[in-house]
Symmetry: C2
Subunit: 207 residues, 2 copies
Amino acid sequence: MTLVNPNPILQSLIAEQLVSDPASARGRLLNEAARLFRDKGYERTTVRDLAAAVGIQSGSLFHHFRTKEEILKAVMVETIRLNTALMQAAADQFADGKEKLRALVRTELESINGQTGEAMAVLVYEWRSLSESSRAEVLELRDIYEDLWLSALRQLADAGQLGADPFITRRMLTGALSWTVTWYRPERGGLSLDGLTDQVMAMLGLA
Amino acid sequence: MTLVNPNPILQSLIAEQLVSDPASARGRLLNEAARLFRDKGYERTTVRDLAAAVGIQSGSLFHHFRTKEEILKAVMVETIRLNTALMQAAADQFADGKEKLRALVRTELESINGQTGEAMAVLVYEWRSLSESSRAEVLELRDIYEDLWLSALRQLADAGQLGADPFITRRMLTGALSWTVTWYRPERGGLSLDGLTDQVMAMLGLA
DNA sequence: CGATACCAAGCAAGCGCTTGGTTTGTAAAC
DNA sequence: GTTTACAAACCAAGCGCTTGCTTGGTATCG
């Protein structure tokens, strides 16, 4: 009984070997690692915790990864790759600046609070635990991601629809959106992702 | 040669024993601890690091604090106490909603990026490392702080000047403002704290 | 057969914290 | 004005435990 993941973007990234299949041993470990890293933090999470989460011995981890840090880096790199592709697809759907921004906000909120939310939180809050060289590698990927945002925001600014500077606005949005992971609980609150997106747009005066 | 700290709010808190004097042994340790916790994270910071930062042996730390976590908690509790007092004073200066909010934004940005910045960052990003009971204690203090924000934002919402819900707006601001610590570099950029405050107000459509 | 995936055991290092004892500051007793 | 008393502040050493990671060997499977 094989379940095919319905997301074509994820599928093509897996085919290109840019992202691990969540059904594979490596993929399952990375998912569990992201969850543990978010819940307890990278340092508090031991290799024994990670191994137990996928039902193997701690030593067996090092058959798949050379170091614990390599696991953190893999979580981050694969998460950026996936989300850059998702954001690209979302942005390409619209030409209008306001609609484009709305799609980006909505997609990032979905990444942060949905299935890849654990990994996104790790990406935002655990970069200090990366070594210098890994950090540089991750930052390079992040720049591509950020360019998607900046071009959309610049488009709005040129049309006179943005109150503040595009760079500043993006940085404010980065903080504001990633912070939602600490308080947004769609299952309880009643506020849907679309509703939350509306609120963000309203806050920016783009309702 | 005694130097008197010019901040009267800090002085009165020290007098009431709610905050440690930064010149005292305890105060100096808490300052160093905040810096180390922010730079390396709580878990990566060892008691040996903390002791070395103030020039004593690691064991001697436990003459002042019973556990390492007690140091983290003290950093957080004293930081909230100080900043609640600072925010209260800032808010009391203005009656007009927009001016009141501007004062709050400006004061919080100053806390985050100024002298107490290390401690503020710890407050935001290291709460996971607190034990359950310490967390409850810190949250209680935080609620008082948050009420200052909410009353100002409600005032604006009642006047129809706020695009989004006050609660949501505050949460977005929490994320956005605390995130500035990762990118805002006044000494290099040229953007002053007042300028940054202007940008935040402009983003909210309250320029 | 050979490669891949794993287990069982444990090592060296680093961790938070404890211990017993020494120095230092202060103030009363003589 | 020296002596005695005592607590606060600190040191030197190290204990018990956990950490990331290694090692040598064993299943599993194409």
